[in-house]
């Protein structure tokens, strides 16, 4: 999975591309942790994620919880249809803030 980060707005944008499984959670956590103590939202763009497994989902939840504890949030942006369906089936669509675009 590729991770690209844009920090030129108050709300950082983390764009993921590829398959998000347990092989990828360490690098995702490392990238997200740099924003963890900030009190604004972190946008995670999921438009080019073709699969996310339970480890990837757990890592998203962990980031979201940590960000909310600091007064911010993790917002999922433009999830691909596959990710959208997986979020719905796992009922995580109810837990996250999801936006149709970035």
């Amino acid at each position: 999975m590729e991770i690209a980060i844009e920090t030129d707005s108050p709300s950082p944008l983390v764009t993921l591309t590829g398959r998000f499984d347990s092989f990828e959670t360490a690098q995702f956590r490392e990238k997200m942790d740099q924003f963890a103590d900030q009190s604004h939202e972190i946008r995670v763009h999921l438009g080019a994620v073709n699969f996310i497994d339970s480890s990837g989902l757990a890592e998203l939840v962990r980031s979201m919880k940590r960000s909310r504890e600091a007064g911010g949030d993790v917002v999922l942006c433009a999830p691909s249809q596959t990710v959208r369906v997986i979020l719905e089936l796992t009922r995580l669509d109810m837990a996250f803030t999801i936006r149709p675009d970035a």
């Binding site: 073709n50 699969f51 497994d53 249809q81 596959t82 369906v85 997986i86």
Partner: protein, 270 residues
């Protein structure tokens, strides 16, 4: 057969309709997932398959063949409430071959695919295999060993075992395929009916038996390079599998000598 996805279909509406309403015609495609203690891995796989295949506009069904899971795989799946997904419950764990056979025999599509529960071969490879059946094959098998295959995260031990077994299978058993064990295989309905009615092996090496039977029945088998990711949490133990595989090669030969596969050709032409 329709081997392409329809770009004019609204993906969300198509999925919602499939999820909520039982299709009102026989399925063109059936997808079978064998599952043993897969409560953590199977739901994302179901989601990925559903999201992808609903884009086609083709009526299809999903069958998850439980293999006597002792975790809550069955409850989790039934809790999804998907209108076109059936969960076949097994009282006992008998092996992957047993689960796949039950799923394949319950399938009613004209084309039947079985795919592993961990999405190790991404469902996006569906169309590649379907094209081979469109071109006249009876069976299309995913291959991680052919030139053009994209394999990620496969351990050195697993590569070594796969290579060794493949040499045995090709030269000792006369099966010419480079990868008999990829858990992503597609069949026409008549081929699936004939082959799985004669499958006797319940464990991991049932794939080998199915391909042996396909050759015996003079079916056309297309081996297709696929993308494959060694998904985390695999329950395959290479050493155990290798021993079982060797034993089952002898069992298949013995079954054939004893005439236990008799009737296969007749079934295919019936």
């Amino acid at each position: 057969m329709n081997s392409s996805l329809d770009p004019n279909i609204d993906k969300s509406i198509a999925y919602r309709s499939w999820a909520d309403h039982k299709i009102d015609q026989p399925p063109e495609w059936s997808v079978v997932i064998p599952a043993y203690n897969e409560s953590e891995r199977v739901v994302p796989t179901v989601g990925a398959i559903a999201a992808h295949l609903c884009r086609s506009g083709t009526p299809w069904e999903l069958i998850v063949a439980d293999d006597g899971s002792t975790d809550d795989t069955v409850e989790v799946l039934n809790g999804l409430g998907l209108a076109n997904m059936r969960v076949l419950v097994a009282e006992q764990n008998r092996g992957k071959g047993s689960a796949v056979r039950r799923g394949m025999q319950a399938a009613s599509g004209n084309i039947v695919l079985f795919a592993d529960a961990d999405q190790s071969t991404p469902i996006e490879q569906f169309e590649t295999l379907l094209k081979a059946l469109d071109n006249g094959a009876d069976v299309a098998i995913g291959s991680r060993s052919m030139e053009g295959a994209q394999v990620a995260n496969k351990s050195a031990t697993r590569k070594l075992f796969s290579h060794g077994l493949n040499i045995l299978v090709r030269f000792g058993f006369g099966i010419p395929y480079q990868d008999t064990q990829c858990g992503f295989k597609m069949f026409t309905a008549p081929a699936a009916r004939a082959l799985f009615a004669h499958q006797l092996i319940d464990q991991f090496s049932f794939d080998l038996e199915i391909l042996y039977l396909a050759r015996k029945a003079n079916m056309t088998v297309a081996e297709i390079p696929v993308e494959w990711i060694d998904a985390p949490g695999s329950t395959v133990d290479p050493a155990k599998v290798a021993v079982e595989f060797l034993k089952d090669m002898a069992v298949i030969r013995w079954n054939d000598i004893r005439g236990r596969y008799r009737g296969l050709t007749h079934d295919l032409s019936a």
